[in-house]
Amino acid sequence: MQFPTSCSPFTPSNNTVQRMMLYVIAALIPAIGTLFWFFGFSILIQLFLASCTAILAESLCLYARKRSVLPSLLDGSALLTAFLIAMAIPSIAPWWVVVTGTLFSILIAKHAYGGLGYNPFNPAMVGYVFLLISFPLQMTIWQSPLLFLDLNSALTVIFLEPTSIDGLSSATTLDYTKTQLHLGQSINSIQQHAIFGFIADKNKEFINLAYLIGGLFLLKQKIIHWAIPTAVILGIMLPASITYSMDSSIYPSPLFHLASGATLCAAFFIATDPVTASSGTKGHLIYGFLIGSLIYCIRTWGGYPDAVAFAVLLANLTAPTIDYYLKGKKTIAPLAKEYTRNNGSNLEVGALASPDPVRD
């Protein structure tokens, strides 16, 4: 009876790319829930729009490259990118913003390099930066935290080019602190403003909390590596606490940095994208710390209020170089401790092949 031959090993495990991606999407659910709780249906519409465009774009590319569409569509990576973009941009941005962003990220940032696994830059962040640079106005109107949009008003806002835009929008705390700082206001006077909740944006803190919960869930499931999130958080907290201790009236507290903007979302969901990060524990630490410190620098001195996207892209840029220099010619663990035998006779390997009396 004939049998097919193939190479060992023959025991596949249940660990698949699809399982990893679905776990990450599942970890995003608490954040989406809180977003919906505070801001209403606008976020759900954005998510729906982004996912449809992503799936459409992905299948289009795969079909164009004559690749089997279904398996790589089901691995959920396109869906994850769509989710990240939809949650990063303001939820009341018009519909064509999220569509163009997702198209750009799936087509250019992912499939131009060959699809899943080959893209050097994080597609979600490339899409976000593309939007930030090309539509600066739409990207800075954030829904005010006190307003809950029900379904039809959210639909009108997103699709029908809303008339009263300013009634709905308000600045985020990050934006607000930056502009006020320029005007010379002191920190504590800034923080009296209505939009401030306990530490940062009124309701946004809870969203960051939800990201944290999702992140810890991923850590427990061993989907992401502990090194990157800790390094990112450390990257932000360290400079923040230094400058805070130096002059607390000008520089906000490290906790504020942590709870505001998309820091925690970046630490647990964006920076830990294995494809674009550097590899190895040391690589993760350097990569994460780089992201954290870049976020801090751009936030305090840079031009853009929340610099998560730029920091992640810049770190992706350096990931191959980190890999090149980190991967010494040894294995991960330092070369095994050289064992000096007590009887010390140093031997050259040829002993076995030497002429042997036993040969008959």
Partner: protein
């Protein structure tokens, strides 16, 4: 001297994965005599044997039918009495699926054996006499590598520890475990013989903690002797040489270094049983315990099979295939070889026949998640090695210690994109060894060519010198003739 047993911290090796054992330890049954026995002359890479019997000869059980023909090969013995029907090309148990010259023995059912010459007082014999006896009995490592045992026991670098490897870490395989339960006493005797040959000061039998009854059997049998029975954690691949040494002694053998350089020798438990049979009973290696198991076989069991039995006879003895039989693997599910047909005969190295359905899944691109680096027991970087072997950068592969990869398959199993990593490493290894061979041949050809050039140059010079001499003599003769003409 190392004393392992008082080490507080039980050090385990890095990496490795926990697999569910699927072990069915059964009593060892003996199948009926097969009609035809097939003995391939090609053992494994660069190890050949030469037939020393002609077609039509009558041979007895235990008679040598092929002698060693290269440095690391061992003689082959007939497993039963019968007539040599032919020496022809048959499919052999090799991943290539090619055919090679095999000796075909038609058994006559009498199973009459040569009289054995045991040597009971082995402690008085010289160590070389014992190693010659083991070599002539055709004993090779039965763990799967089939390295000639006599060569391994040369003991030229001082060996301080002999490790008898009973850690059957691959799933499904239970031949060593059932052998340990059935004949613990003989195994202990065999280990003592090997320890005597190696003059090793310490002998340990390492067995996984998931095999309690085999552990107790060995413990009971080794009561009087000073052989230690040591439990090791059942993490795959704890049975690997370097991994086992790290578990037992906490010492990490560096990459590209051989184990015996550091005074350790590992022998499989079945090999020590075979040594016992060869030295104390004088029986050559003609039979071994094989596990026939998997979802594709009706009745999985351990069989005392004659070496050279075609697989289809063994399958018949286990009541044939079930409908799940889509793949025939010789060896375990992690490091076994997929065989092309069940006409192939069992060889000395086959410890298990696994017949199971194919569980293939689509290959996706690598997402650099790094899980493979976490599980690699030799602490390599499978992700980097994969990218380098994919882009055919062989020098980078060698720099990253590809030679130290034991092809255990852990990285392959945990890879979420189901990338055939072991296959790409094997391709890289064969490419690198092929390029090395070519480089050596080219260097040799260059040397021969340069010698030829120098030789031709030397011939020209000699001719030129000869020419001068001849011219000189002609001048002299002409001058002399002219001189004579003058006076």
């Amino acid at each position: 001297m190392f004393n392992f047993f008082w080490r507080k911290k039980k050090s385990t090796f890095t990496g490795g994965i926990i697999l569910d054992g699927h072990k069915q330890v059964t009593k060892i049954n003996t199948p009926q005599l097969p009609k035809e026995l097939i003995y391939p002359l090609f053992l494994t890479s660069d190890r050949y044997t030469k037939a020393c019997v002609k077609v039509g000869d009558y041979v007895k059980k235990g008679q040598v039918i092929a002698i060693a023909d290269s440095l690391l090969s061992t003689p082959i013995h007939a497993a039963s009495s019968g007539i040599i029907s032919s020496i022809e090309k048959r499919l052999i148990a090799h991943p290539s699926g090619l055919a090679d010259d095999c000796i075909i023995l038609q058994t006559d059912g009498l199973d009459s054996a040569l009289e054995a010459e045991p040597c009971l007082d082995y402690r008085q014999q010289s160590r070389d006499f014992l190693r010659k006896k083991i070599h002539q009995a055709g004993i090779v490592g039965l763990g799967g590598a089939a390295f000639p045992t006599a060569k391994k026991l040369s003991g030229s670098p001082a060996i301080h520890t002999l490790i008898i490897n009973a850690a059957e870490c691959e799933p499904y395989i239970s031949c060593d475990e059932s052998l340990a339960i059935a004949s613990a006493k003989e195994i202990i005797q065999g280990s003592l013989i090997i320890q005597h040959i190696l003059q090793a000061s310490l002998c340990i039998i390492a067995i996984e903690d998931s095999k309690p009854d085999a552990y107790l059997a060995l413990l009971f049998a080794a009561k009087e002797t000073d052989i230690k029975i040591q439990k090791v954690p059942s993490i795959y691949p704890t049975g690997g040489e370097k991994q086992l040494i790290q578990v037992l002694s906490g010492e990490q053998i560096p990459p590209q270094k051989l184990v015996f350089e550091y005074g350790y020798i590992c022998q499989n438990i079945a090999t020590s049983f075979a040594v016992y049979q060869a030295v104390l009973l004088g029986i050559p290696l003609t039979e071994r315990v094989i596990t026939v198991t998997g979802a594709g076989i009706k009745q999985a069991q351990n069989i005392q099979a004659k070496i050279g039995t075609p697989i289809k006879d063994l399958v018949q003895f286990c009541q044939g295939y079930t409908e799940h039989a889509q793949q025939l693997i010789m060896g375990g599910p992690m490091m076994g070889i997929a065989l092309a047909s069940d006409e192939i005969a069992v060889i000395k190295a086959s410890n298990c026949l696994l017949i199971e359905p194919i569980k293939a899944s689509a290959i996706q691109p690598c997402i650099r998640c790094g899980d493979c680096a976490k599980v690699c027991p030799s602490e390599l970087l499978p992700q980097q090695l994969y990218w380098y072997s994919r882009s055919q950068q062989w020098d980078n592969c060698t720099d990253y210690n590809l030679a130290d990869c034991i092809e255990c398959g852990c990285c392959d199993v945990v890879c979420p994109s189901k990338i055939p990593l072991v296959q790409s490493f094997r391709i890289a290894k064969s490419e690198i060894s092929q390029q090395q061979k070519q480089a050596e041949q080219a260097a040799l050809a260059k040397k021969r060519f340069e010698n030829q050039q120098q030789r031709k140059l030397r011939i020209e010079q000699e001719k030129a010198v000869l020419l001068e001499k001849r011219k000189a003599t002609i001048e002299k003769m002409k001058a002399a003739a002219a001189q004579r003409k003058l006076n």
